[in-house]
Symmetry: C2
Subunit: 137 residues, 2 copies
Amino acid sequence: MQTLTIGQLAKQAHVNIETIRYYERRGLMTEPPRRDSGYREYPLEAVDRIRFIRRAQELGFSLKEIAELFSLRVNPETTSADIKRRAEAKVADINARISDLERMKAALMKLAAACRGRGPTSECPILESLASEGRST
Amino acid sequence: MQTLTIGQLAKQAHVNIETIRYYERRGLMTEPPRRDSGYREYPLEAVDRIRFIRRAQELGFSLKEIAELFSLRVNPETTSADIKRRAEAKVADINARISDLERMKAALMKLAAACRGRGPTSECPILESLASEGRST
DNA sequence: ATGCGCCCTGCACCTAGGTCCGGAGTCAAG
DNA sequence: CTTGACTCCGGACCTAGGTGCAGGGCGCAT
């Protein structure tokens, strides 16, 4: 089975080596097996894991939240009902994000459309697009 | 016309007073008029603006990107074509975010669904959901 | 068997985004 | 006209998420 050194992994996932070690400390990467020399030996899937982390961050999830997402799948012994509840909570959060993004998008499209007309470009609806009452993630 | 002091604004927008001053320094809040005493006097809409900033942050936009969003609406004198182009670029970015969120959501729902069965809860599809090739926001 | 590049650990340092503090001035209720 | 709450400003400090050394140990091509 093909494996990667930390340097190769870093290259393939487009992150700094130190970042990988940092994720390991934070519990986002499970500690990989080591060679006798102490070198870490990563399976190929580690690349996906890092890419997932990075994209989830860009989507506004903190490292702590991402760790929570992962924790949904380890522990095959956690009660199914519990996992289900947590997964559904995440889904609700994601739905809220999506709909806010949809509203921002609609506002931006309206703005872009207004640009091909003469109307004053001011008076834009961007602000109103997210003016919902405090809901905290 | 009704106005707010910085403290009232902070309370209504659920942020720290210092955060408001910080946003002003960063150019996210336009400098409000001052009383003779030097006190800032905010219009009610300032609340919406702050809420917009906060939610956009939760959605993964940096303060710099948020400032860019705002810059699309000031300057009624920027060429319409330019604004249009920039707005459309933002829309494309938002579309990418939405589709990634949709994929995460699908993965989570699949996971939740698997939980009402006996099958091993491990082997979940979360990782694969965002394992797309490097696209950087 | 040696040199060059990669890996190890621990710790110092960096940026973004805030948050707190102190000393001084302001406002309004009593 | 005083007192407690609020505001001003400048600057120090804090957390999250990394990033960069230094000093030492591998690994392999020559």
